[in-house]
């Protein structure tokens, strides 16, 4: 796969051009290339053929897979059409062509619900075109986030800045750190994505054999990665000092900020990937198949997760009808009685503690340590290290009060100081994520959802031991029901255990776009929580 991208990066690039004549010319080139290989491989690739033709055919296959991806995902209609024609032509010659596996970008959301690249409004189209021009692909994550174009724009901008625009870290390092972070959550999707990018920007393939093969400097990040991913509150200034003062293997402060942002970004993104059940991209292994459609079409991951059979989508709709109405009623009540009945201060304090401890009791589906699959686990050390509840008996870690260390006042300044302009981007992204609303809930219009959004945001921060003095944690109990809490907790703390059943069992009546919205909130809240702890440690180191 990556060989093709390597040797022909230029060829695909021009397909992202806004000038249709460029695209046409590029398509022409692709066409010739494909046909040339088809001829050299021979009409029907034979299983018994020699190894040289085998290599040739696998080369052709990956080429075809890319064409297939383009035919589905390219934001330009002309390219899509020409790709379909090309595939048809190849099939007519007698070569087996691939077809996409699974049902669209997400296992949880039916393909027809997700934005079709062919039917986009203008602003989304332009966002997709930009993304395509930069990356030469449109990944499934972007497609799913496409429900919320306003956020998508900011998300892509940030990610682009993080990975492509010049910053303290070299390009391949960034991808490698991305791989490390995603691997921590066993997110095969992100790992594969960045393994390709890593090789493409000239990373050393040896590093991919495991963290042990990477330079010592990168190995030192393993600890930071581990703590940040699972128990960020344990991060101390000693950890930071260890990274900054390591003789010739030390990082600079600017680099460290970049690293921290990368790690938190990919931890959160891994959460999102699992939370929305993102499937492998079409052009990657596992995203397409050359087998005939009659064979089982289920994604490998589906089988691994034990929900091989498609569950009945709207099976339980009856029993949960009225769920939305109840929720709205509660929000209204909270709004009204807030001024009348004032909870005592002690009450407020204990409510946070209760919510904190209760979040502990919300048990994620299986609690046994599942051993991550071999190929991913080599990118990090100590696979048994996982999320431990913040408020365990015995070890007491003081809560972080937002009023004492907040993103707006403190985190921002630190990031912007050491990684210019990036604080601004992150700030925008957090704000968009937090303020995003369409004033709808399921079928109801004109609802003020700020209360619900704040409850979700603060619940996640609560799980990380971050407390808002001015928030009544009793609201969380009123607004978030148990199945939703289970989902949130699983997604934030051990995203790899998310199942389709979990996704479906919360908020049954809500639309998929709203569930994606929730996922975005979870992702950003988690990222901010990790970031706050990391930045606080860095601040402490600096003072």
């Amino acid at each position: 796969m990556m060989d093709v991208r390597d040797s022909s990066a230029g060829r695909w690039d021009a397909l992202g051009s806004r000038d249709s004549s460029f695209r046409h010319a590029a398509m022409e080139l692709v066409h010739q290339e494909v046909m040339r290989r088809v001829e050299s491989t021979g009409p029907v690739p034979d299983r018994q053929s020699s190894s040289s033709t085998d290599a040739l055919s696998s080369d052709l296959n990956s080429l075809l897979a890319h064409v297939l991806m383009l035919s589905k995902r390219c934001p330009y209609e002309d390219v899509r059409k020409e790709c379909i024609c090309l595939l048809q032509m190849v099939q007519d010659v007698g070569v087996r062509i691939p077809r996409p596996m699974g049902n669209g970008p997400s296992r949880f959301i039916p393909e027809k619900e997700i934005l079709q690249v062919s039917k986009l409004d203008e602003s989304t189209q332009s966002i997709f075109e930009d993304a395509f021009a930069v990356l030469g692909r449109l990944d499934n994550i972007s497609l799913v986030i496409g429900f919320h174009p306003q956020y998508l724009e900011s998300f892509l901008k940030t990610q682009h800045y993080l990975l492509q625009i010049d910053g303290p870290l070299s390009l391949h390092c960034r991808h490698y750190i991305g791989i490390m972070a995603a691997a921590r959550h066993q997110c095969t999707y992100l790992v594969n994505l960045h393994v390709n990018d890593f090789l493409q920007v000239g990373g050393d393939p040896k590093w991919l054999n495991g963290l042990g093969e990477a330079p010592q400097k990168l190995q030192a990040l393993g600890e930071l990665n581990k703590i940040l991913a699972h128990r960020p509150w344990l991060l101390t200034k000693e950890h930071i000092e260890h990274l900054l003062k390591a003789e010739e293997h030390s990082w600079s402060l600017a680099e460290l900020i970049h690293i921290v942002v990368l790690l938190t970004h990919y931890h959160a993104l891994a959460s999102f990937t699992f939370g929305c059940g993102i499937t492998p991209d079409i052009q990657t292994d596992g995203g397409h198949t050359f087998r005939a459609p009659s064979l089982s079409g289920y994604c490998v991951c589906d089988i691994a997760n034990g929900n091989g059979a498609l569950e009945e989508m709207f099976g339980n709709q009856q029993e949960s009808s009225g769920e939305v109405e109840v929720l709205m009623e509660r929000m209204k009540q909270l709004q009204e009685c807030r001024d009348e009945e004032e909870a005592s201060q002690e009450e407020m304090a204990t409510r946070f503690e209760r919510e904190k401890t209760e979040s502990m009791l919300v048990v994620t589906s299986e609690d046994e340590e599942c051993v991550p699959s071999r190929d991913v686990s080599r990118h990090f050390e100590d696979p048994s290290y996982g999320y431990k509840d913040f408020s365990r008996r015995g070890e007491h870690v003081p809560t972080l009060r937002v009023q004492d260390y907040s993103w707006e006042d403190h985190g921002f300044s630190l990031v912007n100081r050491l990684y210019p302009d990036f604080g601004q981007l992150l700030d925008e992204k957090f704000q968009i994520a937090f303020n995003l609303t369409y004033n709808t809930m399921a079928t109801h219009q004109g609802v003020d959802t700020s209360m619900l959004r704040r409850a979700i945001w603060n619940y996640i921060h609560c799980m990380f031991g971050i407390r808002y003095d001015d928030y009544d944690y009793g609201e969380i109990n009123q607004l978030l029901d148990r199945s939703f809490k289970v989902y949130i907790k699983t997604m934030v703390c051990s995203p790899e255990k998310i199942t389709k059943r979990m996704y479906e069992s919360f908020w049954r009546q809500f639309r998929h776009s709203e569930k994606v919205h929730v996922n975005l909130l979870l992702m950003e809240a988690r990222m901010q929580a990790e970031l706050l702890y990391a930045l606080r440690a860095i601040t402490r180191y600096m003072t």
Binding site: S17, R18, D19, F22, S126, E129, D130, A133, V134, L156, K157, H160, Y161, Q164, I165, D166, G167, P168, S250, S252, A254, E255, R338, E342, S344, Q345, E346, M348, A349, R401, Q403, D404, E408, D409, H410, F412, S413, L414, R417, P420, D421, D427, D469, D470, T539, M542, T543
Partner: protein
């Protein structure tokens, strides 16, 4: 008068006391005898005594204090001695009455805000009026005689960071917001703000009304700026702007000093600065006592400018005496030095320094004001009584290089370009560099390289090739090559030649005007030129008629015009005021070397290497000598040699020299290289350096902002496509493809394209490839 008398009774010293917990805010009572400290876990009143703080009262009572005690802000009423108000992080506004007989002094509790209250403010003259600003975007005005707020002001959903009643206008208050806006409200009209303007990018953390000047408001923001706004006119005008180094958390005007204000920052920087807003480049005074960020500052008495109180996250409460403040201006470098485009050199220094007696036998010295060719005064500032900056009068000398004498630095450029710093084995690098130095007739350097080679090479192979090398150099007597004394004397001779520059009068009008504009701009005020009586007028005239001015006895230079702008880190090729004599201590490096060699001065190099530097000697043996040698070169101004040797030797010597010195050398060399536009070499040096601070240079400001060539709007960061006109920007004018690598523009018509395409095109044609008719040039 009575007031002033009371002020005079205040005395004290710089003192501090430990608090039990970090403070969030402090406030002082009207007669300056008590201070209240509030924080998440602290709420106490301290008495200010002659020789220390004395805890008077702990307001945090109860076994398990509620969040109402967790204060984000506190204010002591300026009319009513017993009245305090706090803003709690949980959204409560609490008032406290110290006159209450019981332990719990809490008087009223307002829980109308939904989010954290960031600020409370009493009306300066009205006893019962209290204002609060909260994270929920509302400001509320309370009448303390009533149970609830009397009016609510909505800032339209953005969080309120600060509210301040105007000192002069009874009904006006200012509010600053998280989105960068500042609003002015009339307390009688809660429906709509009177005025709004955007003051900062990002949150405005604080604002403060000037105690004297009606309508002056200072604001501080996350964008690291302090701005002073004049609101007395129709349009809000920014009149001063001070750029600090960290986000500004608090700002407070200094009493009785019209242009002074104190600031502290929210992150990273722990100092308190007092600025003269007219001198925005350097703080007037700095208090550096705190170990963590300062969270609250307040002037002890509203008519006393000499005492400042501050609370900090490091759990201390300080009283700073102004006379104990450090004055950064005293530490600032009062000398300035700059190269002109054609090798001219301008040098500004304190007059007192310049007037020193000319040293003997130095041709270069003649150029100093001893010759008494003074330049016209181009700036004269009458000392302003309110401005307490030290008046520094400086003299400026300009050394104009002789025609063709810029060749004097050719050796530098040549050397920089030809030296090899990496990529080959150590011995070869040394040999190459020795050849380069020799070719440029720099024999001392050449010999140094050769010696380094011998010292640090593997013992196996040295003598033969060295021998060869030296034999080739032939006509140079070996003895001489070791006699460092003579060599450095020769070096000095050469330096002297360089210094035979003529002193020239300023090309007055041109230069003067330049300077003048600059200072004026930086001051943000033309007052000095026009506002100050008759003297100034004269000076202005003299500026225009320079002959006349030549007779003026002295001239003053605004200090920031030269030295203070940016620290000049090196003076490598500056003519030194005092010519170094070979036996001066700086030369100790060379002496040391010649010392160790003197006994065998007449022995050939081969025998030396065999005798002294026998293969059994570890290379470490030479490190001290090499170190001294490097220092010698750097001291002599040949930082090029020092850095080059440092890089080539790499680990062999790096540990011997402390990081800071290395960094200094690197910075100096890089600065020089960049002055000579040797970008490639400078980049190579940065890359090869091992200092963290230097390597960082390559990681900053690497962004290039471009505009779309079609619609002339700024391009966003991603892609090659303009967001607005949806066209490919930066298309090559020759091949019409998007340029993704090196892009070359014509500065005349702004067309361009792939480097090689444009080069090729312009070989054949004189006109712009885009067909715009411009005659482009490629050089």
């Amino acid at each position: 008068m009575e007031k002033m008398n009371r002020v005079n009774t205040i005395s004290g010293r710089t003192m501090f006391c430990h608090l039990d917990a970090p403070a969030n805010a402090i406030s002082v009572c009207r007669d300056a005898t008590q201070v209240v400290v509030a924080g998440r876990n602290i709420f106490k009143i301290y008495g200010l005594e002659e020789d220390g703080f004395v805890e008077r009262l702990n307001l945090r009572v109860g076994r398990k204090p509620s969040l109402n005690f967790s204060c984000a802000d506190v204010m002591w009423h300026q009319m009513e001695e017993n009245l305090l108000a706090t803003a709690a992080t949980n959204g409560a506004v609490v008032t406290w009455n110290l006159a209450r007989p019981c332990r719990n002094k809490q008087e009223q509790l307002f829980t109308e805000h939904k989010r954290t209250v960031n600020k409370v403010c009493f009306h300066p003259t009205e006893v019962n009026m209290l204002l609060s600003g909260s994270q929920d975007g509302f400001m509320k005005c309370f009448d303390l005689r009533k149970k609830e707020s009397v009016s609510t002001f909505s800032g339209q959903s953005e969080s309120v960071r600060d509210v301040q009643f105007s000192m002069k206008d009874y009904f006006t208050f200012a509010a600053s917001f998280e989105n960068g806006n500042v609003q002015l409200w009339d307390i009688r009209r809660p429906d709509r703000y009177e005025r709004m303007f955007t003051a900062h990018t990002g949150p405005v953390f604080c604002c403060d009304w000037h105690p004297e000047d009606r309508g002056w408001l200072a604001t501080g923001g996350r964008d690291k700026m302090v701005k002073v706004w004049d609101m007395s006119t129709n349009r809000v005008k920014e009149i001063y702007c001070v750029q600090t180094i960290a986000s500004v958390a608090r700002v407070k005007w200094r009493p009785e000093r019209r242009f002074h204000l104190a600031t502290c920052s929210m992150m990273v920087d722990h100092n308190i600065y007092v600025w003269d807003v007219r001198r925005p480049f350097i703080p007037f005074a700095t208090f550096e006592e705190h170990k963590d960020v300062t969270t609250g500052i307040v002037w002890r008495h509203q008519h006393d400018p000499y005492f400042l109180l501050s609370g900090s996250k490091d759990s201390t409460l300080y009283q700073h005496m102004f006379k104990d403040a450090s004055r950064p201006v005293d530490r600032a470098n009062p000398e300035g030095l700059c190269f002109g485009l054609f090798g001219d050199l301008a040098f500004a220094a304190k007059e007192s320094l310049m007037a020193g007696p000319p040293s003997v036998g130095d041709v270069g010295r003649k150029t100093y004001p001893g010759g008494d060719r003074r330049y016209p005064i181009f700036f004269f500032k009458k000392p302003d009584v309110t401005e307490q900056f030290a008046q520094v009068s400086s003299a400026l000398s300009v050394f104009e290089s002789e025609a063709g004498s810029s060749v004097g630095m050719d050796w530098f450029i040549n050397t920089a370009q030809s030296y090899l710093l990496s990529g080959k084995p150590f011995a070869e690098l040394c040999e190459h560099n020795a050849q380069v130095a020799k070719r440029l007739n720099r024999l001392q350097e050449s010999t140094t390289w050769t010696m380094l080679r011998i010292m640090f090479s593997e013992p196996a192979n040295p003598s033969l090739s060295t021998n060869h090398n030296l034999n080739k150099s032939g006509n140079l007597p070996l003895v001489n090559s070791f006699s460092m004394k003579e060599m450095s004397a020769a070096l000095n001779e050469r330096n002297k030649e360089n210094r035979q520059d003529n002193i020239h009068s300023l090309e007055t009008n041109l230069n003067n005007n330049d300077e003048n504009e600059e200072t004026e701009g930086s001051e943000g005020q033309a007052e000095y030129l026009f506002g100050d009586a008759e003297l100034d007028d004269d000076d202005l005239y003299s500026m225009e008629h320079d002959n006349q001015a030549a007779e003026e006895p002295e001239y003053l230079l605004p200090q920031e015009a030269f030295p203070l702008r940016h620290e000049i880190m090196d003076h490598p090729s500056a003519p030194e005021p005092v010519q170094e004599k070979p036996e001066s201590p700086h030369v100790s490096g060379s002496e040391a070397e010649s010392m160790c060699l003197t006994p065998m001065e007449s022995i050939s190099l081969i025998s030396v290497s065999q005798l002294l530097f026998s293969p059994h000697l570890p290379p470490k043996f030479f490190c001290p000598i090499v170190k001294e040698m490097l220092c010698y070169y750097a001291e002599q101004g040949d930082v090029q040699m020092a850095v080059s040797v440092l890089i080539v030797l790499g680990d062999r010597i790096r540990k011997e020299i402390d990081e800071l010195t290395q960094e200094h050398w690197y910075m100096s060399y890089i600065d020089l290289l960049q002055r000579f536009e040797l970008w490639n070499v400078s980049n190579e040096v940065i890359k090869l350096s091992t200092c963290g601070a230097i390597m960082c240079l390559n990681q900053t400001s690497t962004t290039l902002h471009i505009n779309c060539s079609n619609c002339k709007r700024p391009m966003s960061n991603k892609g090659w496509i303009c967001d607005r006109c949806h066209q490919c920007a930066s298309v090559c004018a020759v091949c019409h493809h998007v340029v993704k690598g090196l892009f070359v523009w014509c500065q005349g018509c702004s067309h361009g394209g792939h480097l090689e395409h444009v080069m090729e095109w312009l070989k054949q044609s004189k006109h712009c490839p885009a067909g715009c008719g411009h005659l482009c040039e490629y050089t």
